[in-house]
Amino acid sequence: MISAGIDIGSITSKVVILDDGRIYGSKIGFTGYNAERAGSSIYNSLIEELGIKHENVNSIVATGYGRNSVQFADKTYTEILCHAAGAFYNNSDIRTIIDIGGQDSKVISLSADGNVKDFCMNDKCAAGTGRFLEVIARALEIDLENFARLSLQSGKPASISTTCTVFAESEVISLIAKGESRENIIAGIHDSVASRLSSMVYRVGLNPPVMMTGGVAKNSGLVKAIENRLGTGVLVPESAQINGALGAALLAAKQNYRQ
């Protein structure tokens, strides 16, 4: 049985295809301004690459902020359930998930059977999200890819007092003007995001093991900052960025909508 999960995020969209519950293929692309088109074009090019016909896909689940614009999905679920399913599939010991997305971040607590116990999402603000790191990267004129390496070289993380993206950007600019090193600034930024996220973790209750998902999880500097704040290790699965789509595909696999 073939199932598909489509995760339309605010910045990137991801598609995962499962064959009898195992990952068969995945693809990531930019969402752009047309969420519906992004979903279908990434999905179509992936099934073509895999040599699968749309008619042979048994079920499709969409998730992410653009989930309702995926007209060809059989069902939609929120990111909460999908991230939980994806993380639990990767490691069934996981009790806490931190997901940093493009426009929001969330913390999910799981029970031993993989059900969602509670969740918490950041409020109406970009701080602590992928967008926040992008804005800072632009202000520093550094590629996001280099954030991890540079921050890990920092001797003394700068203190970033504000949590608002717009104000933090100007704070960073004034730190640059004062001659603060980029390494310390980036480490400071990571710490400010980590502080925000860890308070969300404490809201649902810190229950190790903790897993981090979402594209931002590739940033090992940030992961380290979060580990320091939480005082516990944070696992990052290989499939961190496609975790939501993976979960959606897993939920899709539970149901054969088009026998």
Partner: protein, 409 residues
């Protein structure tokens, strides 16, 4: 073929609107009829005013109207331009700005002859009423009710009862006539009756399907706030209760195919009630009850008609947000059991700190004790700038998924 009836229509709404219109006309023409107008906080002791024939006016109720008619953001911005911080309660901001421009849906409130402020709901009202007392240049009576952490001490009791007596003297001075204690007894009796009837109205939603929802309760609450102690209110709530019982008898629910029963904590989002009720209804979920409209009935048992002065003082001190989180939790957990709630929605209200404080602990306790999902919605009762529809949508969808998951659906 008969036309399909609209179950969301509650007949009594029409009557309620008439009563509120008549009330505001009375208040706005009070001066011409030789009557005095007092502005009073929603949790303030209103019975002595009614006993003295003073028309009570509630800026908070008026602010809620400003919110429902989506006029709040303009007024909040106006207050901010006047120098008031965005962090101040939006009821206060809307009212302070409205007074200067006679804005809002009814062209402003009638000018007060004096103000009565009871701080049993929050500390904001003290400064807010001081601002208005200066603006209108009228006397202000402050009724101070100490916060109840655990027990209400004898000293605190003596202190509030003494203020009740001072309040009567203040009213005698303002109205130029003797305070009528017999009349007070009669008013208190009616007020208790109103609260009892209101409790009965709210209790009808324990039934499945619920004949009305908390969104309806937010609307019908208007009378218990503004006119308790008068016959009109009691007649109205009797009529409303009977209508609800009739709906129960005919199996009429307020939403189609109600499957999930939810409780709401804190004030409503006045500018978003329709969207929220439609969104929940689209998931077959009904907000069957809430702590806010029930707050009026949590204290009725404290009122002893033979000792109106002492017991009023007690009841007003023990209102829902003047008590510790532990005691609030007792009320809430009783409601969860009695209304058989499948989930709890908590509105973390940026404006109302005393109501929102402790909600994370409350949510945790509820999920530990009852195992039901909880949802925290961060918003504001008036200031729509603090609400994001698409984020709320995702949270609500996920919350309902958890309820379904728990029920094994």
């Amino acid at each position: 073929m008969t036309e399909k009836s609209d179950n969301t229509k509650i007949r009594s709404v029409k009557r309620m609107k008439e009563i509120m219109t008549a009330y505001y006309i009375d208040a706005k023409t009070a001066g011409q009829n030789g009557k005095k107008v007092a502005w009073i906080t929603s949790g303030g002791p209103v019975e002595p005013l009614i006993a003295m024939d003073v028309i009570p006016v509630y800026p908070e109720n008026h602010s809620a109207m400003i919110g429902s008619t989506k006029m709040a953001i303009d007024l909040c911005e106006k207050a901010e331009a006047m120098g008031y911080s965005r962090d101040i309660c939006s009821y206060a901001r809307a009212d302070i700005a409205c007074a200067t421009v006679n804005g809002g849906p009814i062209g402003g409130l009638p000018r007060p002859d004096f103000l009565v402020c009871c701080n049993n709901i929050c500390g904001t009202v003290m400064k807010w009423y001081e601002v208005q007392a200066r603006y209108f240049n009228v006397p202000l009576f402050i009724f101070d009710t100490p916060f109840i952490h655990t027990d209400f001490s004898q000293e605190a009791r003596t202190y509030v009862v003494k203020q009740m007596e001072e309040y009567f003297i203040f009213l005698e001075e303002q109205c130029g006539k003797k305070f009528d204690r017999d009349k007070l007894k009669d008013v208190v009796k009616k007020s208790v009756e109103a609260q009892r009837l209101w409790k009965e109205v709210l209790a009808t939603t324990k039934h499945n399907p619920a004949p009305m929802s908390a969104f309806d309760a937010f609307f019908h609450l208007g009378l218990i706030v503004t006119l308790r102690g008068t016959e009109t209110v009691n007649d109205y709530y009797t009529e409303l209760r009977d209508e609800m019982n009739e709906r129960i008898q005919n199996g009429i629910g307020i939403i189609q195919e109600q499957k999930y029963r939810l409780l709401w904590d804190n004030l409503p989002l006045w500018y978003k009630t329709k969207w929220l009720s439609d969104t929940f209804a689209s998931h077959n979920a009904c907000l069957v009850a809430d702590t806010y409209t029930s707050a009026w009935s949590f204290v009725i048992d404290m009122i002893d008609l033979d000792k109106p002065v002492e017991s009023l003082a007690m009841a007003y001190s023990n209102v829902y947000i003047n008590i510790s989180i532990d005691r609030m939790y007792e009320n809430l957990s009783t409601m969860i059991t009695e209304w058989k709630a499948d989930g709890l929605v908590l509105h973390s209200n940026r404006s109302c700190k005393p109501y929102s404080f402790g909600q994370y602990d409350t949510a945790r306790r509820v999920s530990d004790e009852f195992g039901i999902p909880t949802l925290m919605l961060e918003a504001d009762m008036l200031d729509g700038r603090l609400f994001n529809e698409s984020q709320a949508q995702t949270r609500i969808d996920a919350f309902i998924e958890l309820i379904r998951q728990r029920k094994g659906e």
